[in-house]
Each structure stands twice: as structure tokens, then as C-alpha cells.
């Protein structure tokens, strides 16, 4: 199905997007299997329609939204972003979605709302990878409220002008281009505004390896591999990883005063 964007923004330095085949064939979505090619193979069990997203917590307007209503709240925009995985590979992806900042403001968070938490569907029938306890299901990710209201993050509904395939987190997922890919929760069923910092899945699984912020930072190595360089899918030579994945101008001010060595 087509998802025609109303606005387009090229934010990957003019780089050619990674081919559709690779964006939809090489994925980390453990709920559909831990191998890179498993999600594409197993996505058939995920039923992305009908789908609702529950919005609750510290908001004036808690509600349950149909995913198609979500797409009508705001004009869908195309954003071409770099995507840097914590495993030191990267892609350039043309996402279609609505700006998270617009969505957050529309929900009218209370003064107590300090964090926004995103929860993935928990249903082993649709997500067979959840039959094994590889991670503590359901998958949870979160942003600070000021990160969530930055203009960059997207609630993505599509790719390349088409609705999101299951393996990429259909029907709605988070995209935060200056953070490692695992921050982008997939197949979201619940968005909760909280006062306390929520537990997040990878941070809880291995706190020394995956921080809450998970900002792309070439200066802080993963304990088991270097984050200084990355392999862009489709390229032979590794290239240097950019601080904040090259989006420092838009986001560095969010972390003023925080020790940059801790920003991982």
C-alpha cells in the first residue's frame, strides 16, 4: 500500500538510500528471530491491522488511537536519515511518518511528564521470538521528554513511500536518528508519559554495554567492539562514525553539562 508523503526532508547529507531489499532484509527485531534474516522470514505472523496505540500516564488526554487515525493526525512526512546500529553497521533510510514532537504536544503532557516510554506488542502468536526469553518482553524503550519534543524523532509508518513491513516494526515504530538503532522501539502498542525514568530493555539486559541515552558516540567503545567506525551496508570500507550520527547541530544542546563520555 502506498503512503504518499506531504513533505520531504533529505537529512543524510545527500547520500543515496540503502536499497529496499537490504532495509527490509537485514533487521534486528528479536521478536521475529535473532538472525538478521529471520525477521523478514517470520514477519508473516504479525498482523499490523487493525492496530491501536494506547496513550496513557502523565497526559491530559489519555486515549486509545487507531493506527490509521494516527496517520491522519498530522501530514505524513518523508525523512531520509542515517541509521546507525550499535553493532557498527549503518544504513540510509527514507522513512515516512509523523513527527513525534507534534504527537507529544497533541497529547498534552502534564508538568510531571519527564519521560516518554514506548512499549512493543507482547504476543508470542504474532511475535514468535517472544516464546524464548532472549530479552525481558515486552520490549520497552524511552526518551527524555525534551528529546521526544526535538524536531528529529519520527513515529514511522512507512518506508520508501510504502507502509512499514512487519520486519521493520509495522505498523508504527520510533526513529531517533542520533541514537543507536535499538532505541527505535518497533510495533508500538503503548506510549506512556512518566515522571520517573523507565527501565529500558537493552539497558536492563546489559547495563555496561547499552546505556539509557545510547547516543551514537565514536569516542565510547562498546566493551566488546569499537564504535569508532562503521560499515555502511553496501560499502566495502568502513567509514568513521560521526558524533550523534552527524546530527549534533540539532541535538547536542540537549546534553549540555552531561559528561560526553557517559553518552552511550
Amino acid at each position: 500500500a502506498a503512503l504518499p508523503p506531504a513533505k520531504r526532508a533529505e537529512l543524510a547529507g545527500g547520500e543515496k538510500p540503502t536499497p529496499w531489499k537490504d532495509v527490509t532484509g537485514y533487521n534486528n527485531f528479536y521478536e521475529l528471530g535473532t538472525g538478521k534474516e529471520d525477521p523478514a522470514r517470520n514477519a508473516g505472523s504479525l498482523r499490523p491491522r487493525p492496530w491501536t496505540v494506547q496513550v496513557d500516564g502523565e497526559v491530559k488526554r489519555p486515549q486509545t488511537l487507531d493506527v490509521d487515525a494516527l496517520a491522519r493526525l498530522f501530514p505524513v512526512e518523508e525523512r531520509i536519515y542515517r541509521m546507525r546500529c550499535v553493532e557498527a553497521w549503518s544504513m540510509v533510510i527514507p522513512w515516512d511518518g509523523i513527527p513525534l514532537a507534534d504527537f507529544v504536544k497533541r497529547m498534552e503532557p502534564t508538568s510531571k511528564a519527564k519521560f516518554v516510554k514506548f512499549t512493543t506488542l507482547e504476543d508470542p502468536a504474532q511475535l514468535p521470538g517472544q516464546r524464548r526469553h532472549v530479552l525481558d518482553w515486552p520490549y520497552v524503550e524511552a526518551l527524555r521528554i525534551d528529546e521526544a519534543t526535538n524536531p528529529l524523532p519520527l513515529l514511522a509508518l512507512g518506508l520508501y513511500g510504502r507502509v512499514l513491513p512487519g520486519q521493520n516494526g509495522a505498523p508504527v515504530r520510533l526513529v531517533v536518528p542520533w541514537k543507536y538503532g535499538f532505541k527505535g522501539a518497533k510495533s508500538i502498542v503503548r506510549i506512556t508519559f512518566t515522571e520517573e525514568q523507565p527501565r529500558t530493555t537493552w539497558n536492563e539486559a546489559a547495563p555496561d554495554e547499552y546505556g539509557f541515552y545510547a547516543n551514537v558516540n565514536p569516542a565510547v567503545d562498546h566493551p566488546r567492539w569499537s564504535q569508532a567506525r562503521e560499515r555502511r551496508i553496501g560499502e566495502f570500507f568502513r567509514r568513521k562514525t560521526l558524533p550523534f550520527n552527524g546530527y549534533g547541530d540539532q541535538v547536542a544542546q540537549l546534553y549540555a553539562g552531561l559528561d560526553p563520555r557517559k553518552l552511550y
Partner: protein, 257 residues
């Protein structure tokens, strides 16, 4: 010790005077006689070439996938590294299986492909390392040096290769003769160390789903336990047979296969 010895007196007599005939290998029930050189050179001549042919198939598959239609996916370098690593561990595991298979199942033909399996493990380890150096890092020695020093999983992988190298270098009949069988065997027990290091390398490399490395660990552990069990059994059999007069208790220099 001959199992048919009827009385202690007769045993004393046989051990005191040299046996008139050449000492025959002990033929305990269930244990097949070790193949003589003549038999080794004789039947099933095709076993070793077949082992090599099958053992090289995974390389052919990588070449086929890389050069022809199926492709190696979005991240071909990662996939080639993973496959070569997988086959290194698999052949290392297979090379350790023939001895317990002979001891417990009485199947002796796998022993004849053991050397081929061990050399295949070393070949895959070399290809895995070469891919990492020449393709993955493209001879960036600074990065490779930092990886070896700072990242334990890469360091452990490199040590695994270093442990396998002397085993491959001493794999020929001439080297077995030169080292002496007992010393050669002690050296080649390092294959177990390589197995442990290889599994640790795999475990540390995986992000979260440890199923595959743990399966390898279980398989290596089983083979190691079988070897231990076999050694224990032999010791008990020796003890039950009683100490030979004049034989040292430690059994040093005794040929234990």
C-alpha cells in the same frame, strides 16, 4: 595384561619369562584392534579424499553464494566471517569425536579421517582470520592491534588460532615419529583448549542469543567427559589386573591409547 591368565602363579611365570611369540595387542571384548599400517593403506582408501571433498564444500558454498544468484545478503563480510567461524568449530568438534567413537562404540574408521578433520578446522580458522584482516579490516594494522589488545573476544579468537597452529604443523606421520607417540599425544590434547577458547570467542561475540555457542559448548563438554570416562575406565581395568612386578606405579612411559 592378558585377560586369559588363569592363576597368579601362571601370571608370575609369564611375566618372568619372555613370551615365546610376539606380544599380541590385547583383545578386550568391545574394543576393536588398532588397524595395522597394512590395513590402513588397504581398504577404504577413499575415506580421506572424501573427508576433504566434503570438508571443502562450505568454502564452495560461500564462493557460489558470493559470485552467483543467491548472494550473501546485506552484510556479506559479516556472513562470510560467521560461516567460516562456524565451520572452524564444527570441524574441531568432529576431529575430537573419532577417539571416543572408537572407545565407546567400537567404530574405528573415523580415526582414519581425524587428521583431515583437524586440518580442515585449521584451514577454516586461517580463512576466518584472513577474512577479518584482509576484508573486514582491510589491513588496518592499527585497528587490528587495538582489537587484539582491547577486545577480549578478538584476542581469544587469535589465541585459538595460535593454539591450533602447532597441531597442524605436527600433523604428519614424520612429526609423530619425531616427537614420539606419547609426547605427540600430549601436545594434541591442546585441541580441547582450542575448543574451549573457540567457544568463548563465539560466546563473547554474540550480542544476546547464546543458543549456538552453548550448543557447541555442550558438544565439546560431552566429548571431553567421554575422554575422561574412558581414561578412568582404563585406569580401573589396569588396577583390577593388579600391579605388574617391577612396573612403576605411576605408569609413566606406558602406552595408553
Amino acid at each position: 595384561m592378558a585377560a586369559s591368565t588363569p592363576t597368579p602363579a601362571a601370571e608370575a611365570a609369564t611375566s618372568a619369562t619372555p613370551a615365546p611369540t610376539a606380544p599380541a595387542p590385547p583383545r578386550a571384548a568391545g574394543a576393536a584392534p588398532p588397524p595395522s599400517r597394512a590395513r590402513r593403506a588397504g581398504g577404504r582408501r577413499w575415506l580421506v579424499p572424501l573427508a576433504w571433498a566434503l570438508g571443502l564444500l562450505p568454502i564452495a558454498k560461500v564462493a557460489y553464494d558470493g559470485l552467483l544468484a543467491p548472494g550473501l545478503g546485506a552484510n556479506p563480510i559479516e556472513k562470510v566471517l560467521n560461516r567460516l567461524g562456524f565451520w572452524t568449530l564444527t570441524f574441531l568438534l568432529l576431529s575430537l569425536a573419532p577417539t571416543p567413537a572408537r572407545a565407546f562404540l567400537g567404530i574405528s574408521w573415523p580415526v582414519r579421517v581425524r587428521r583431515a578433520l583437524g586440518l580442515l578446522a585449521f584451514l577454516y580458522a586461517c580463512l576466518h582470520f584472513t577474512t577479518y584482516v584482509a576484508v573486514d579490516q582491510f589491513f588496518d594494522w592499527q585497528i587490528i592491534g587495538a582489537d587484539l589488545a582491547r577486545r577480549p573476544f578478538i584476542g581469544v579468537g587469535f589465541v585459538t588460532l595460535l593454539v591450533l597452529a602447532p597441531l597442524a604443523l605436527t600433523s604428519s606421520d614424520a612429526m609423530v615419529r619425531r616427537l614420539g607417540h606419547a609426547r605427540w599425544k600430549r601436545l594434541h590434547r591442546l585441541a580441547y583448549a582450542a575448543g574451549v577458547l573457540g567457544v568463548v570467542h563465539f560466546l563473547w561475540r554474540v550480542k544476546k542469543d547464546h543458543t549456538e555457542p552453548l550448543l557447541f559448548a555442550a558438544a565439546f563438554g560431552t566429548l571431553f567427559a567421554l575422554r575422561g570416562l574412558d581414561a578412568l575406565r582404563r585406569r580401573l581395568v589396569r588396577r583390577a589386573a593388579g600391579p605388574r612386578p617391577g612396573a612403576s606405579l605411576s605408569g609413566r612411559g606406558a602406552k595408553v591409547d
